[in-house]
């Protein structure tokens, strides 16, 4: 994954992605900059990929350098890592967690399983296309991806936030009827009311 970036010594010159210290950018768009450099990841073990999170947040790779910390509740989070395969049962929890997160929120699918089912491609119980049920802003391919891949994916997420392309939550709001229909096709009846009004431009309810 990191091979394309050349030798470690040269990498700093080639890839100057981080603009946290540029005051002018902070004054121009404080919301965008603060969103980029304060990503709080929801602490939710969705699959086996969660095993890559401890080395990422602890001493070896130390994601806190970039303001990425895990938080214990979806209300405080704005980044959701879908770590590993998604079973039908997990999907229910994932949707509830996603809907509880405050906007703006970003989702990254981690590993090959959320992308297309991975090694569970013919399982009756595994969700093959996560993108049908909740909007995903980016994918990390691999089984397992290395912890560096998480950090590289976060730099890609920064670029997306800069270009205002990380708009999964807006897509969810806009196409909520379709997403809800897809969710009901897999899970049967959902026991919670629609989060947005069916017209698609409603406000978020408390719940």
């Amino acid at each position: 994954m990191l091979r394309g970036y050349g030798k470690p010594g040269k990498a700093t010159k080639k890839t100057k992605i981080m603009d946290r210290n540029q005051i002018t950018k902070w004054l121009k768009s404080p919301d965008k900059m603060a969103r980029k450099y304060s990503l709080h990841v929801v602490y939710f073990c969705t699959g086996c990929g969660i095993i890559e999170i401890p080395p990422t947040i602890t001493a070896r790779w130390d994601a806190e350098r970039f303001g990425i910390i895990p938080v214990a509740t979806p209300r405080q989070a704005n980044l959701f890592l879908i770590t590993g395969y998604v079973s039908v049962k997990t999907l229910r929890a994932i949707i509830r967690t996603y809907e509880q997160m405050p906007e703006p929120k970003y989702v990254i699918g981690f590993g090959s399983c959320p992308i297309n089912g991975g090694m569970y491609w013919d399982s009756y119980n595994t969700i093959k296309h996560l993108d049908k049920y909740i909007p995903v802003d980016g994918w990390i391919a691999g089984c397992m991806p290395r912890p560096e891949a998480i950090i590289v994916s976060v730099t890609h997420l920064w670029t997306l936030i800069d270009k205002e392309m990380a708009n999964g939550y807006l897509r969810y709001k806009k196409n909520y009827t379709a997403y809800r229909r897809n969710q009901e096709m897999v899970l049967g009846t959902l026991e919670w009311p629609p989060v947005y009004q069916e017209s698609g431009n409603g406000d978020q309810e408390s719940g």
Binding site: M33, R35, S38, T58, A59, V71, A72, Q204, S206
Partner: protein, 297 residues
């Protein structure tokens, strides 16, 4: 009049800046102890800016007002607390007002959480109140000892006495309550080994579980104020205050750093272990200190 208003604004600003600085320093020092590099010093500021731009969610009018009560309590304490030579409302109240107002901070959070309706909040609040029951007993004994020794309830006079002679922590009968105060300081700050009330791994950060967006931002600010107040009270009562804000800040920094080292190396007490500890050593020290102070007078 103008000086009082100016000093009020300045001391609130100083408490906020010092508290947020401590939150940043907290994360850096913890990272260095873990052998990590750690976030930049302004990371709490970035977090608070982001949280204000995020869409929070309310659970009714009490949910909002509880936080406001809590914040108002902290702001009121700061007006009565000398920060260096700034003490806007020094003529009135003193320690007794601070003792009463300090109850507002957990009380407001409890009111706010009660409206949230999450079971984790109830557990967190009950733990917080039990813990405050644990540290209030030694805390009141310490306050009594200090008030008896200096025959005053005014913090300004207590600071003046100490600056005329020497620090309370280094004088004979008051060193015992001073040590007791330092022993209960982690419980008052809610840091390890007394972070049962906001344990992220057990009860999803307790009373903070439903806060998001600007509510969480205000909770962070309230936490920053709480840090400033508790440490400032220790510095005023036992380290002799300071002539100006810079020396005061340096003393606060030392106390905070020592407390942080305790935080970094200890695991978490269970609630009943915490109560057992709080009602044994700090209470005994404070009580013995109080008795000796009374007998020597």
């Amino acid at each position: 009049m103008v000086t009082i208003i100016l000093q009020s604004i300045l001391s609130v600003l100083a408490a906020l800046v010092i508290g947020v600085f401590f939150l940043g320093l907290f994360r850096i020092i913890m990272a260095r102890i873990h052998w990590r590099y750690g976030p930049p010093l302004i990371q709490p500021v970035i977090d608070i800016i982001k949280l204000f731009f995020q869409k929070g969610m309310s659970h009714g009018i009490m949910f909002d007002f509880g936080l406001i009560i809590s914040l108002a309590g902290s702001l009121a304490i700061i007006l009565f607390m000398p920060f260096g030579n700034w003490c806007p409302l020094s003529g009135s109240g003193g320690l007794l007002v601070i003792l009463y107002l300090m109850l507002l901070m957990p009380f407001g959070v409890a009111l706010s959480g009660g409206a949230g309706g999450n079971p984790n909040i109830s557990i967190g609040i009950s733990r917080k109140l039990i813990l405050s029951l644990g540290y209030e007993v030694p805390f009141l004994l310490i306050m009594l000892a200090v008030m008896t020794q200096y025959k005053s309830i005014s913090i300004v006079e207590i600071v003046q006495h100490q600056q005329n002679s020497h620090w309370a922590l280094l004088s004979w009968p008051l060193c015992l309550p001073g040590i007791a105060y330092f022993l209960i300081l982690p419980a008052m700050l809610g840091i390890r080994p007394f972070d049962v009330a906001s344990a992220p791994q057990e009860i999803s950060s307790g009373s903070m579980v439903e806060y998001g967006g600007k509510y969480l931002a205000f909770a962070h600010i309230e936490h920053a104020f709480g840090l400033s107040i508790t440490i400032a009270l220790f510095v005023n009562l036992f380290l002799g205050g300071a002539g100006n804000i810079v020396f005061f800040f340096v003393k606060m920094l030392v106390v905070f750093f020592v407390g942080l080292c305790v935080h970094a190396v200890f695991p978490r007490f269970r609630v009943e272990q915490a109560i057992k500890y709080l009602w044994k050593w700090p209470t005994a020290l404070a009580f013995v200190g109080l008795v000796i102070t009374v007998l020597m007078k």
